[in-house]
Symmetry: C2
Subunit: 237 residues, 2 copies
């Protein structure tokens, strides 16, 4: 990447308190004074904050923990030797990330915006899942959802042109973070380009072209209005 301003506290993957009292709560994090609370998995964990561009973990880091986005946006990415980067996913509140089969994180994870994540210790959860079939099922379901998203992303990367990629991206963001017809993009053009397998210039040109075609409006660089979803969906091949 470019900037990687490491934030004060939460630089390391956080080895603090693990599973506390497992008060089951479905839905999102409920605040608790001591930093131990439960999230979307109905699983106790510790809340940690990361500043924009902070590394949550690096590729190859020990995968002792996995995470859940509470607020903000996280990107999961992988680098080639010469610095080319592929962003595998943008993670939004409720998304689980960093749960690995092996001992290491195979992607890096960084904060796209200032964000809060819930940290879960893998060992404890694995033991718990062995007894709690429901938890095991939810973990499995999350992994499968991940797989399905990745497969969809693969189709986009392999077989779509620039306009189709950008349209698919906008529709996906609009669906996942609903706010009427407006989409707030928390990430830079660099991030979008590395997510779509394009350059920033091509992303920018494609957005301008969609604007000229009145499919979208660009009131500001990070805020996009979907003026004609049908047109975008037609591009969505």
């Amino acid at each position: 990447m470019h900037t990687t301003a490491i934030t004060g506290t939460a630089t390391q993957p956080f080895m603090g308190a693990a599973l506390g009292d497992g008060a089951k709560v479905s839905g999102f994090a409920a605040a608790a004074p001591n930093g131990i609370e439960t999230g979307a998995l109905g699983l106790a964990g510790s809340r940690v904050r990361f500043e924009r561009d902070a590394e949550i973990y690096a590729e190859g880091d020990d995968a002792a923990c996995f995470y859940e986005v509470v607020s903000g946006v996280v990107r999961s990415s992988k680098l080639l030797a010469d610095g080319r980067r592929q962003i595998g996913a943008f993670l939004l509140p409720g998304d689980i990330f960093g749960f690995e089969a092996g001992a290491e994180h195979r992607f890096a994870a960084e904060a796209v915006t200032d964000c809060t994540v819930m940290v879960h210790r893998r060992r404890g959860v694995e033991a718990l899942a062995a007894r709690d079939a429901g938890l095991a099922q939810r973990l499995f379901a999350h992994t499968v959802r991940n797989l399905e998203r990745t497969q969809e992303h693969m189709l986009l990367l392999g077989r779509k042109n620039a306009a189709e990629k950008v349209a698919a991206f906008l529709l996906d963001m609009a669906e996942r973070a609903p706010a009427g017809d407006g989409v707030d993009l928390p990430m830079t053009r660099y991030d979008i380009a590395d997510y779509l397998g394009l350059t920033i210039e091509t992303v920018s040109r494609t957005l301008s072209q969609l604007e000229r075609q009145s499919a979208i409006a660009l009131p500001s660089t990070r805020h996009i209005v979907l003026k004609n979803r049908a047109a975008l969906r037609r591009l969505n091949a």
Copy 2:
């Protein structure tokens, strides 16, 4: 696709006998007279044969069964509305495919070569996995391996050029179906192109170019000799 010569018996996803006596056997299929036997998952299933290019299941088919390759090669693919195709994976003996979270198969599966697959009924296995933690674990592990492969594939599709894609493909095939330095490709250039997100012409040109650089030899179209793996790995970025 183009040709889809449907074979005599095994055209439909096969609704026959499900789980029989679950004699645990690790390793590959052991022959049994009645067609019920156990495979890599240590799971009973029925052996079914498919001819080259036969459809094992279509995108959107009911996902009542999942499969394991016993012999031959299978491709898993997805189509865009206008016929563009992305091959998500080539499945080799021992690979599990078609295990879905939802009710439907999200990809199609077809036989690349004549092949034998083991069919497992999902319902039965889910019930079994609820009691057999080891089985649940193996299924989970397979899903995760799938995810990891898909993520690797994503990197290739998004950020690699034609030479890098072809080199990565050859090295992967050589590793998964080891036969010294020779690689037998069971699939057409069309299949390779749709796997790598290229056209057949670009695949062909790239192979010729690698041959001119003495990285490989092409004694016949479907047989490739890796003459210089280091060179290929250098391309593997």
